[in-house]
C-alpha cells in the first residue's frame, strides 16, 4: 500500500493511480481520493498542486494528420494483404500498369558532353555487360557494365534508362505507399503518374522525389557532385538524412538542372541553355511523324533518349509511317511502332529489339 501521507507533489505526479484520477476521474478513484483528502486535510494543498500541474500539461496535435483518403487506402491495402495475399497483390499491380502510362510526359535531356565511363565487359559475365540479378527475395539489381544505356521496366510501368557504369536496385513490386529505388551512377527516369505514391530515387545520400514526370539523376560514387535534371513535371530533391519536410529541399521544374556539392552542402540550380527534345513544348512536334520512314523515326528516338534500338534496318527501315508518339514513355513508343509495322518488340536484358515475324 502506498504511503501517500508521505508523498510530495513530485511523488503524486508519477503515481499511476493518482494520474488516473486526475486524467480520467473514474468513479473508484474519485471515491478513494475524495475520501483520502478528507482523512488527510494537511495534504490537500499538495494534492491540489499536483493535480493542477498534471492537468496543465498540454501536448500539440501532430502536424498533418492522416487524411481520410490516406486512411482508406492504407486500410484497403491491409485488408488485401491479409486475405489471399498473393493473388490480390498481382491484381493490383496489373491495374496500376494499365491506367497510368498514357499520362506520362516523356522528355529527356541530352547530357551532351558528359563523360561516359567506359567499362569493358568483365570476362565471365553476360555477353553484353548487362545483368539483372536477384539480391534479396523480391528485390532486383540491374547492373549496366556495357557501353550503352539499358532499359529497366518497373512494376508500376515506370522506366529507368540506366547509363553505362550504373546500377539500380528496385523491388519486384512496389509497396502500397511509395515507389523506392536505389541508384548508383546515372539514369533517366520516366515515371508513371501516381499522386498517391511518390517515386523516390535514393542515390549517394540524396533523395529525388517525384509524383510522375521524367528526369535524370546522376550520382556516381566518384563524383564530387550529385545532379538532377528535370524534363517534365516537377521533382523535389533533399538530403536523405534531412527528410522531405526539411527546408533544405529544392524543387525543380522542367529544363532545370540541380547540382549538389556534398562537401559544401550547397544546392545550385540552373536553367538549361537548350530545352531538350523530350520537353513538353518540343516533344509534340518532334515526335509526330507523318509519312516518315521507320529508320528516321528510330534514329530520332535513339538520339532523344540516348539508347540503341536494334532492328533489321534493311528489312524494315524504309517502311513509311504516320505516328504520334509524344505522350508515351519509351517502351510504349516502341510498342506502338511495332504494332504499326506488325512486328514484335523484345525488352529483355535491358535491350530494345524490334523483330519482324518471318513470313512463312
Amino acid at each position: 500500500m502506498n504511503s501517500y501521507e508521505k508523498y510530495q507533489v513530485e511523488d503524486f505526479i508519477y503515481d499511476d493511480f493518482f494520474i488516473a484520477w486526475v486524467l480520467h476521474k473514474s468513479p473508484e478513484s474519485e471515491t478513494f481520493w475524495n475520501q483520502w483528502i478528507l482523512q488527510h486535510p494537511e495534504k490537500r494543498k499538495t494534492i491540489t498542486d499536483a493535480a493542477l500541474l498534471l492537468s496543465s500539461i498540454k501536448i500539440d496535435d501532430p502536424a498533418k494528420p492522416l487524411s481520410a483518403a490516406e486512411i482508406a487506402s492504407m486500410l484497403t491495402y491491409v485488408q488485401d494483404q491479409t486475405s489471399m495475399p498473393s493473388r490480390k497483390q498481382e491484381a493490383s499491380t496489373l491495374k496500376l500498369y494499365q491506367n497510368t502510362w498514357f499520362r506520362i510526359a516523356a522528355l529527356i535531356v541530352l547530357l551532351t558532353g558528359f563523360a561516359l565511363l567506359f567499362y569493358k565487359s568483365p570476362a565471365g559475365h553476360s555477353s553484353d555487360g548487362y545483368q539483372q540479378i536477384t539480391v534479396e527475395p523480391d528485390v532486383y539489381e540491374a547492373v549496366n557494365n556495357s557501353t550503352i544505356s539499358k532499359m529497366v521496366r518497373l512494376s508500376d510501368g515506370s522506366l529507368a534508362l540506366l547509363k553505362p557504369g550504373s546500377n539500380l536496385r528496385f523491388p519486384k513490386t512496389f509497396s502500397s505507399t511509395t515507389r523506392t529505388v536505389y541508384l548508383t551512377g546515372e539514369a533517366f527516369f520516366e515515371v508513371a503518374h501516381n499522386k498517391e505514391k511518390p517515386f523516390l530515387v535514393h542515390s549517394n545520400g540524396m533523395v529525388t522525389r517525384v509524383l510522375g514526370t521524367s528526369f535524370t539523376v546522376r550520382a556516381f560514387k566518384d563524383d564530387a557532385f550529385f545532379k538532377v535534371i528535370v524534363n517534365t513535371g516537377k521533382v523535389q530533391v533533399y538530403e536523405e538524412k534531412q527528410g522531405a519536410a526539411q527546408q533544405q529541399s529544392v524543387f525543380l521544374l522542367p529544363n532545370e538542372e540541380l547540382t549538389f556539392q556534398p562537401k559544401s552542402t550547397s544546392f545550385e540550380k540552373k536553367r538549361l541553355p537548350k530545352p531538350s527534345l523530350l520537353s513538353t513544348d518540343l516533344s509534340e512536334r518532334e515526335f509526330s511523324f507523318s509519312d516518315r520512314p521507320l529508320s528516321e523515326i528510330i534514329t530520332k528516338l535513339e538520339t532523344a533518349y540516348g539508347v540503341r534500338i536494334q532492328y533489321d534496318k534493311d528489312q524494315l527501315g524504309s517502311t513509311v509511317l504516320n505516328a504520334s508518339l509524344s505522350d508515351l514513355p519509351l517502351d510504349e513508343k516502341v510498342k506502338l511502332l511495332c504494332k504499326a509495322i506488325n512486328a514484335n518488340c523484345d525488352f529483355s536484358n535491358g535491350n530494345i529489339i524490334i523483330e519482324k515475324e518471318k513470313i512463312q
Binding site: D49, I57, I59, I71, T82
Partner: protein
C-alpha cells in the same frame, strides 16, 4: 472508439473476438488505432511514407499472429510496442542510421494551458517552463507523450520503450528536477490566478 479512454471490458471483448479470427473486430481495431499509431510513429521519425508503411506492416503482422497473441495484453500497448520496434528496425534499411538508443529525435511540443491567466508575469513564467519541457531529451519527451497524451501507464511505457520501470521513474525524476524551481513558482501564481475566478 476513443482510444485514449478505452472502455476496458468492451475492448477486451473486441480483442478476444479478433484473436478468434473475427474480421469485423480486426477492422474495428485497425480503424481505431491507425491515427494514434501514425501520430506516434511520426514523432519518432518524421517521414510520412515510411511511417505509413510501418503502420500497415504492423497491422498485417497483427492479423497473421492473431492466434499466438496473449489474451491479457492490452491492444494499445501491444500495437504501440510493435510500431516502435518496427520503426527502429526498418530505419537502417531506409538509409538512416539512428540507433535504438539515445540518438533518436522524438518530436513533441508541450504547452502550458495558460490562456485563462491574465497575469503577464505568470504568462512569461509558463513560457519559461514550456521551454524547459520542450528542451527535455527525447526519451523523457517520449515518456511524457505516452503518459499524458496516450495515457498509457508506466508499466506499459516501460514495455513499449524497452526500458525498465525504474528507468522510467528515474528519467521522470530528472525531468521534474530540471524545472522544479520554476514549477513551484508557477503553481503559486496559477493558484493565485485561480483564486480570482
Amino acid at each position: 472508439m476513443d482510444t485514449r479512454k478505452p472502455n476496458i471490458t468492451a475492448e477486451s471483448e473486441l480483442w478476444n473476438r479478433f484473436r478468434a479470427g473475427d474480421r469485423t473486430a480486426y477492422t474495428q481495431i485497425t480503424t481505431a488505432y491507425i491515427n494514434p499509431l501514425f501520430n506516434y510513429g511520426y514523432r519518432i521519425c518524421p517521414d510520412r511514407d515510411f511511417v505509413k508503411d510501418c503502420v500497415q506492416e504492423v497491422f498485417i503482422e497483427l492479423w497473421n499472429r492473431r492466434s499466438t497473441i496473449n489474451e491479457t495484453q492490452s491492444v494499445k500497448w501491444y500495437l504501440f510496442k510493435a510500431v516502435r520496434l518496427r520503426i527502429f528496425r526498418e530505419l537502417p534499411k531506409w538509409g538512416r542510421n539512428e540507433s535504438l538508443n539515445d540518438d533518436y529525435q522524438f518530436t513533441v511540443e508541450f504547452n502550458i494551458e495558460s490562456r485563462l491567466i491574465a497575469d503577464l508575469e505568470v504568462q512569461e513564467l509558463s513560457s519559461k517552463v514550456k521551454a524547459v519541457l520542450n528542451g527535455l531529451p527525447s526519451r523523457q519527451r517520449e515518456i511524457m507523450y505516452l503518459r499524458f497524451y496516450e495515457e498509457l501507464d508506466f508499466e506499459q511505457i516501460s514495455e513499449i520503450m524497452q526500458i525498465s520501470r525504474q528507468s522510467v521513474h528515474n528519467l521522470l525524476q530528472k525531468a521534474y528536477h530540471n524545472f522544479r524551481g520554476e514549477w513551484n513558482t508557477l503553481l503559486l501564481l496559477l493558484l493565485m490566478g485561480e483564486a480570482k475566478f
